[in-house]
């Protein structure tokens, strides 16, 4: 009923001229889409473009820091070890006791008869003075860098002679 009432109008509406898009519609649309893409993602694109540049620059800087050319090149194997003064301890009591032992030994070995006692006493007194001098000498000894890495016995000339004599004796006994 209602449809019939508006039949003519509906018919005319259906037959209205069909409007069409302009010929360059697609071209304009493509331009608009390209503009939109450029506006929408410029940051992202720029960032993506910069990633390889950043990576390359970082690698160059790191390599430069690692293999930095230097005129003051020092071979680490040739560097002398630094002296660690905190580890050099001089034990005075131990040195004195060591020398007193030597003195005692010489007492045992020496002649103890009353005739020679006075002479011996003098010689012992001399020895004590000599020993004290030795001790004071030892106290004044400074340890050089070369000696840091080795256990080097501190012997007087007399002691060295004794050691050598002992060595000769041992060698002759062995032969």
């Amino acid at each position: 009923m209602e449809e019939k009432k508006f039949e003519k109008l509906v018919n005319d509406l259906k037959n209205l001229s069909k409007i069409e898009t302009p010929d360059n519609f697609e071209f304009l649309l493509q331009n608009k889409i390209n503009n939109f893409i450029e506006k929408e993602f410029p940051e992202t694109r720029r960032n993506f473009n910069l990633i390889p540049i950043f990576a390359f620059t970082s690698i160059i800087v790191i390599l430069f820091l690692i293999f930095q050319p230097s005129d003051e090149y020092v071979d680490p194997l040739q560097i002398e070890p630094q002296m660690r003064e905190d580890l050099i301890v001089y034990d005075e009591d131990l040195s004195i006791s060591a020398f007193s032992e030597i003195i005692n030994d010489s007492f045992i070995e020496s002649d103890t008869s009353p005739q020679n006692f006075k002479n011996n006493q003098e010689s012992y007194t001399n020895k004590i003075i000599e020993t004290e001098n030795n001790v004071s000498n030892i106290k004044n000894i400074t340890i050089s860098k070369e000696e840091l890495n080795f256990v080097k016995p501190l012997l007087s000339e007399e002691e060295i002679k004794k050691v050598q004599a002992l060595k000769k004796k041992i060698l002759s006994d062995m032969n």
């Binding site: 209602e2 508006f6 003519k8 109008l9 509906v10 005319d12 509406l13 259906k14 209205l16 001229s17 069909k18 409007i19 069409e20 898009t21 302009p22 519609f25 697609e26 304009l28 649309l29 608009k32 889409i33 939109f36 929408e40």
Partner: protein
């Protein structure tokens, strides 16, 4: 995919291919299929050819931009008409605001209808052209809530269900609005439809 295969696909298949593979050719086919129906709809709604071209282009840009928003639960035609309808309404409101602040304002009756020369068909008589102009003027005088369903139904030939989805209203409301719209149109064009 081969050109011929793409052309034989439905709108829904094409938009899914465009979503998944970013296949520009699928988008181009959709543009080809919908550019004229949309321009017809928007032109009848706005009555201004230049504005309607812009609105339709913006509609396709939105489709391009928000292609992933489309879900295959709805028809593609419904989705694209909804976008075009919203953009057309925005443009209509914008133009109305501009018209309000315009100093040299003509009345609606004085405003000529803008139909491009190349759109005129030689087989149409002057009488028909005059009638078309009258109908277009009458359509523009209708309130939006009546104008839109009448155009979608009687000019675009969409179903009541499709119109209901596009306008987000009940089918019953669509029918009653179309009925009232036609009645108002007929009243405005009483010199043409005398009986």
């Amino acid at each position: 995919m081969i050109e011929q295969d793409l052309n034989s696909l439905t709108d829904e298949d094409l938009i899914i291919i465009f979503q998944q593979n970013n296949n520009e050719r699928a988008f181009e086919i959709l543009v080809k299929r919908y550019k004229n129906p949309l321009i017809n709809f928007v032109f009848r709604f706005l009555g201004d050819y230049e504005s309607c071209v812009d609105v339709v282009q913006d509609t396709f840009i939105k489709v391009y931009r928000y292609k992933n928003v489309y879900s295959d639960i709805a028809k593609f035609s419904t989705w694209i008409y909804t976008i075009a309808s919203n953009l057309a309404k925005t443009e209509y409101k914008r133009k109305k605001r501009i018209k309000l602040i315009s100093i040299s304002q003509k009345s609606d009756d004085e405003r000529p209808i803008e139909i491009k020369d190349n759109q005129l068909r030689p087989d149409k008589s002057l009488e028909n052209l005059f009638k078309e102009e009258q109908i277009q003027q009458a359509l523009l005088k209708l309130k939006i809530i009546y104008r839109e369903p009448v155009i979608l139904r009687d000019i675009q030939g969409l179903s009541y269900e499709e119109i209901a989805s596009i306008l987000s209203i009940e089918v019953g409301t669509v029918k009653s609005r179309i009925n009232r719209g036609r009645r108002k149109l007929q009243k405005l064009l009483k010199h043409i439809y005398k009986d």
